[in-house]
Amino acid sequence: MMDLTDRTWLWIAAACYLIGFIAGTIAVLQERRQSRAVMYVIISAGFTLQTFGLYLRGLAVKGCPLGNMFELFQFTAWSAIALYLVVGAAFRLSLLGYFTSLLAAAATALSLAVPAWDATRRVGVFGGNAWIEFHAAIALFSYGVFALLALTSVMFLLRNYSLKHKRLSGFFSFLPSIRDLETISLRLLTVGTGLLAGSLAVGAVYWLRNTDTVNTTKLLATVSVWAAYAVAWSLRRGGRLYGQRLAWTCIVLFIAALLSIAPVNSSRHADEATPAAVPPRSTP
């Protein structure tokens, strides 16, 4: 039987997300409403495969696979998809599956296409500390929430544009209502900020005990991302940041959060004593 590596499963998962995106694009071009159930099944299949791929990687690195850029991107995309599977079923927002499949296909395919991101696999990166592993997993999961928030923000801007410019047919006719997008965006902002706050709280316990081992770049980057989202959340709650400006803010903040992953990752590697490195297996 063919030996399927974790990357093989993750490639197949990326292909599923890409199929979802292509199917959605065809439906949009034909100006017909795409079956939400079909999209849900395609994304669920991708999610199952990706979960299995990440599980295999987790076994290989003996922990949550968050040891390099490839794993961080994969885990963030996985988190966004996991959330979509809950949010998509509960809120039934049309086109959210389409946009999520685009994001997941792009993030997973990009991470697989850059060999340097997965050149070194680090075993036991959390040194057996379950709390730190939990802290990192929750932090990355909140990035997945922010990814979905960026998508609903893009959808909000498109819906707002269509209403302001009276362009309501074709692709625009499938977008959810302004109020639905506002509601879901606020909830995602609340959940994401809350999760990141929880992650920082868990991490803080470790940091306070081991202040000398905490990298300043990592600390500043993570706290800045959380603080920026927290400010956006409080301004939204106070009715001072809303509509288009809130949507743009969420998109810009997500891009900043993504950009912060690289320095956080490299600073962490610089800090680590010498975690065991596993040479990558031959990849498909």
Partner: protein, 341 residues
């Protein structure tokens, strides 16, 4: 044995004639029974709407169909010569095709409208209850309903609204998603304001308010609609209370200024406001469209969307007609295989 439809509809009949041809609801049961009892008439159904009076039935001979037409003319007080000029008649497979076309909304004055489907169903139910629909009409109408549903779900013939009031409601749905909690204000208690507010009411809005320069008129309309009345002088102060504002007054200038809207939005910055200007000259300052979270549509905007939707429906006609032709052939083949009786 002949399956037939005979009558007149909006294609050939001007409004003043359709008024004469329409059967008064109170007279319908008696006339249906009388027509069904004519010699040679096996089955009969009367479809009586504002745009058509059509008698569907099964007759032993074509002479019986002519006798029915004469009886109908007598009942409406028109001459057979006058009726001959506007008479529409179809037999057998063509009658089936016409029925499916009508039930699908393809033959309606407002292409693709859904109301006709319900009207055909009501006419069929009434004929069944009166015992004038027999095995042939039962089969033809059941199959016609299935075919019409198929046409509506497999084409875009009924997609997009084509009346101004319904376009406004559709737009409100793209902003609010659900109208149950939306607060709707009609400024102006005239016919357009009334139609618009009724359209919102029919789609689930129930927080309705009417404001007019004449408070009595506003209160009168409000009581008809089960709505509230707002004194016109309180309009500026209470504008922020509403999510949807439809203005249709005969005022010579703007009754809702950009400053009023700006002021209202300060009280509800994060909540979208949908402004519908149905007046000429315009009631709402057009610069209000530039404010965040404010969506302003005027008569031209609504008419343009309605026309786009209408054209989109027209583009679906060919596809719908192909489905109808195929379905008609199947239904007619099934009928002739069983025999018309």
């Amino acid at each position: 044995m002949k399956l037939f439809v005979v009558g007149a509809n909006h294609h050939t009949t001007p409004l003043e004639w359709r008024e004469k041809l329409a059967i008064a609801p109170a007279d319908l049961p008696g006339l249906r029974e009388r027509f069904a009892g004519l010699p040679g008439m096996r089955e009969l159904l009367v479809l009586n709407t504002c745009n058509r009076v059509e008698l569907y039935g099964v007759a032993e001979t074509e002479t019986a169909i002519d006798s029915l037409a004469v009886a109908y003319c007598e009942s409406q007080g028109i001459t057979t010569a006058d009726f001959a000029g506007i008479r529409h008649e179809a037999l057998d497979a063509e009658a089936v095709r016409h029925l499916v076309t009508v039930a699908s909304g393809l033959d309606s004055q407002m292409l693709g409208e859904n109301e006709i489907f319900g009207q055909v169903k009501e006419a069929y139910a009434a004929a069944q209850a009166a015992g004038t629909a027999g095995p042939v009409l039962n089969r033809v109408f059941q199959k016609a309903f299935q075919s019409a549903k198929y046409v509506r779900t497999h084409t875009a013939i009924n997609e997009g609204q084509v009346s101004t009031a319904n376009v406004a409601v559709e737009l409100a749905l793209t902003i609010f998603g659900d109208l149950r909690n939306a607060r709707v204000l009609a400024v102006g208690a005239g016919e357009i304001g009334e139609k618009t507010i009724r359209a919102f009411q029919s789609r689930g809005a129930h927080h309705l308010t009417v404001s007019s320069r004449t408070l009595n008129r506003a209160m009168e309309l409000a009581s008809q609609l089960g709505a509230n009345a707002l004194p016109f002088e309180h309009l500026a102060a209470q504008l922020s209370e509403y999510d949807i504002i439809a203005a249709a007054t005969s005022a010579p200038g703007a009754v809702i200024t950009v400053d009023m809207v700006r002021q209202a939005m300060r009280a509800r910055p994060a909540a979208p406001l949908f402004l519908i200007d149905l007046a000429l000259p315009r009631d709402i300052d057009p610069t209000a469209a530039g404010l965040d979270n404010v969506y302003l549509y005027n008569l031209d905007d609504l008419a343009m969307i309605a026309e786009e939707n209408r054209l989109a429906r027209v583009a679906e006609v060919e596809k719908a007609e192909a489905i109808i032709a195929e379905r008609t052939a199947t239904v007619w083949h099934g009928l002739t295989a069983r025999g018309l009786g």
